[in-house]
Amino acid sequence: MAAESPASKLPQRLLYLVPVLIFAVIASYFLWGLNPERDPRAVPSVMIDKPVPEFDLPPIEGMAGPGLGSADLRTGEVTLVNFFASWCLPCRAEHKFLTMLAEKMGVRLVGINYKNKALEARTWLAELGNPYQAIGADVNGRVGIDWGVYGLPETFIVDGTGRIRYRHVGAVDAYVMTEVILPLVRELSR
């Protein structure tokens, strides 16, 4: 396409190098991303054992209930804080396990409805059932940022004094429920 002249030869050759250079940059990101130190399922170390960020969220519009604030997480009881949204597919998958934790195993479960329209959230809960003791509506995702939420669903275990003790990124499944969350909740409740 370009005109051929000796002067433009070198820059033109360099142009052909652009794709491979771009790929090298992307690949180095991938390499960084694969670093076993970076576990998307781990809390950034700054958050663990720190008190939960201060927040006070209203309930989902049109739903009864008190909403959720950081004060509700300092009740002396170990609490699961689950970030969910109706648009999040894995949330649907983990819902059954959260329900089981809350209803069969007596774990205190609260929810933060993340970047979700009220109608959609209500519909979702009406369809699947509402296992949450309280739900705060984080409509613009501000609270999620403070918690360092990176992708839904995420579930935090907060001890009775309101400190974050564990973070699980991704859907809670049978294994995580029985082998990770329950033992930790039991241990913290002692």
């Binding site: 491979v20 991938f30 998958a93 059954k96 992708g151």
Partner: protein, 666 residues
């Protein structure tokens, strides 16, 4: 015994791939015919061994051989036979094997149909195919061996994820992989051309059918995946901009660009380096699509179990394949002779615009998919990117693309007259205006949806007008038009179909997205609900238990809705909620009736314990047009594929055909 045979067959396939990768390439380099000729039998042999391994695994699944770890993890004796078979690729290891099998099938197809290729090109293409196979077979054997045994064998398996026990999703991976892997042929041709240092019209003609076939499969595969999400997930949506969806969409965008730029190479002997680059990028994105969900880089619902060691292996494999080929491109592509300058208003100018816009669209999706990772690397912040990003960035790129798409086919090669073409599109203007007004009258806003409907009508009419112009429909006698239609190359018919299909799909996507109506409430048997002019009567719920004789490995809660309109029966819908006891996992099966102009979509939720049930009903205008449009696009691709000019197995007639085609085009 059989699994071991499968394992050995896989090892032998790797050995064959190594031979096929080295000997013919060296032969092509040194000009030794005998060495080059080895490529063909070894491609067949590789297919034989990979197929043996694949069927060995299938045998283990069908006979429920629970000494094989993979079968234990993904099967169960009570699972219906069909899902025992499809369960073979419903997991990481098995799907890798399917990938390699399809690669071998394509390789053997090149060997079989490539008799008219110059021997050195064929040898190099097959050698590159073997390099890819070597990488994948190594990956499979060393990190993801599907034939691993377990002792003592458990009493029964853990069953396949119930979401995957579905025909739509059973067929989705093979289709998708045929698309992904099909692009490997274009890639191999590109690498071979770089090695040969020559790209010409003949090369483009050889590449196009394979690209077109891959494109058809990928289009079908993506549509099938969207269709599955639509009826199985029960949210009335069909596309969620999930990373896994995005990674299948990116090769489609690039592959579509490749399809069009190859035409320019063929007709005008230009855009060569760009086309080579597109071939490399398309397959690279296919590789990323196959791998990213297995590497643990991005997590997603559909993702397979991940493992950091595997991720590292994958990255090395990607770096060698993509990095190596792009490096080769940087070294060799400048030597390709560049074609002449373009007039902006010309067929080739329009195709360049198409390529530009498709590449930008692809870059948008790429950025949206990987941006969370980039941002995290820089700032440590962890974010997620959702549909709002794509509707703001992707749609504005697609709009001019669709607008120009109606114009492009009217333009002549080399130089054309834009005003003249616009004059011929008066009817399309009228149709677009009519569509906008109709949508405005029926629905009101939003403005963007109105524009999109107008564009869809514009494109549809534009495609039809171009076709009608070629066969002089209504300008001459019907018999003469028919004769002209018969003489028109199949590729021209194919293009019209594909473009019109896209227009139909766009109308469906827009209307179902913008004007969807939704009702959710608790209903008791006998209650009625009105939505979009239809009356839904909830007749009640029946419970069904597991019944092996009927092939039900689940319990089902099935609701019945009677839908009427103005007192006349429209349909009986039976949405279900299933529970798969082995994994204790529920799935939804939506009850859908399509009127052709809209889908009536019902989902049954939970009981409120007091005789009421949560029900969710959607009215989705024009949604079936998405599937119809996708089908027409695939059909267009296939019609185009049957064009004599592109027919891979027609060596003798090939020489005459381009002349005929050119005459018909002139």
């Amino acid at each position: 015994m059989i699994p071991e045979l499968g394992h050995f067959a896989l090892i032998l396939a790797l050995a064959v791939a190594l031979v096929q990768g080295v000997v013919p390439a060296w032969g092509a380099h040194r000009g030794r015919t005998g060495w080059m000729a080895l490529a063909v039998p070894s491609a067949y042999l590789q297919l034989l061994f990979v197929a043996l391994a694949f069927f060995a695994l299938m045998y283990a699944f069908v006979t429920s051989d629970f000494t094989v770890v993979n079968v234990v993890r993904n099967s169960h004796t009570a699972k219906p036979l069909i899902y025992k078979i499809t369960g073979v690729w419903g997991n990481h290891e098995g799907s890798m094997l399917l990938w390699v099998l399809i690669l071998a099938v394509f390789g053997a197809a090149v060997a079989a149909f490539g008799r008219n290729l110059p021997p050195s090109l064929r040898a190099r293409v097959l050698a590159v195919q073997a390099w890819i196979a070597t990488g994948f077979l190594t990956f499979s054997l060393f990190t993801s061996n599907p034939f691993m045994r377990v002792f003592p064998p458990p009493f029964d398996g853990r069953d396949l994820n119930p979401l995957l026990q579905d025909m739509g999703l059973a067929l989705h991976p093979p289709m998708l992989y045929m698309g992904y892997v099909g692009f490997s042929i274009a890639f191999s041709f590109a690498i071979a051309a770089l090695l040969e240092g020559r790209v010409d019209a003949a090369w483009a003609r050889w590449v196009r059918p394979w690209t077109l076939a891959a494109w058809c499969f990928l289009t079908g595969g993506i549509a099938l995946g969207a269709w599955w999400a639509y009826y199985e997930l029960g949210w009335g949506g069909w596309w969620f901009w999930d990373p896994v969806e995005n990674v299948s969409f990116m090769p489609w965008l690039m592959g579509t660009a490749l399809l069009h730029s190859a035409i320019v190479v063929e007709k005008r002997d230009a855009l060569k380096a760009w086309t080579i680059l597109l071939a490399i990028l398309t397959f690279s994105l296919s590789l990323i699509g196959t791998f990213i969900v297995r590497s643990g880089l991005l997590s997603s619902v559909h993702a397979f179990a991940t493992d950091p060691e595997r991720g590292f292996f994958i990255l090395i494999l990607l770096s060698i394949t993509i990095g190596g080929s792009l490096l080769l491109f940087a070294l060799r592509a400048p030597a390709l002779k560049a074609g002449g300058l373009f007039a902006p208003v010309s067929r080739e100018g329009a195709l360049v615009l198409n390529n530009l816009l498709l590449s930008v669209a692809c870059a948008t999706v790429f950025l949206g998919t990987l941006y969370p990772l980039f941002l995290e690397a820089f700032t440590g912040a962890k974010i997620s990117i959702g549909p709002p990003f794509y509707s703001k960035t992707f749609a504005p790129v697609m709009a001019p693309l669709v607008a120009a798409m109606a114009l492009g086919p009217f333009l002549h090669w080399k130089r054309s007259d834009l005003m003249g073409v616009l004059g011929r599109l008066k009817l399309a203007f009228a149709a677009a205006a009519a569509a906008v007004l109709l949508a405005l009258y029926l629905q009101g806003g939003p403005v963007l949806a109105l524009i999109a409907m107008g564009l869809a009508a514009w494109l549809f009419l534009g495609a039809l007008l171009e076709w009608a112009g070629r066969i002089k429909l209504f300008q001459t006698s019907p018999g003469d038009s028919l004769r002209r239609a018969r003489r028109l190359p199949r590729a021209a018919h194919g293009m019209t179909l594909a473009h019109a299909g896209l227009a139909i799909a766009i109308a469906g996507m827009t209307a179902s997205g913008a004007w969807k109506e939704e009702a959710v409430r608790v209903m008791r048997p006998g209650e009625q609900l009105q939505l979009a002019g239809y009356t839904y009567t909830f007749d009640g719920v029946q419970e069904f238990d597991v019944d092996p004789r009927k092939g039900w490995n689940y319990t089902s809660t099935m609701a019945t809705f009677t839908v009427t309109r103005n007192g006349r029966l429209v349909a009986r819908l039976t949405p279900e909620k299933r529970l798969y006891p082995v994994q204790n996992m529920p799935t939804t099966e939506a009850g859908i009736h399509t009127t052709g102009l809209a889908d009536l979509y019902t989902v049954i939720g939970d009981s409120d314990g007091k005789g009421g049930w949560t029900v969710r009903i959607f009215h989705e205008p024009l949604l079936p047009w998405i599937w119809a449009g996708a089908l027409i696009m695939v059909l267009g691709g296939m019609v185009s594929l049957s064009d004599r000019r592109l027919r891979v197995g027609a060596p003798t007639r090939r020489r005459k055909a381009p002349l005929g085609a050119a005459a018909a085009r002139a």
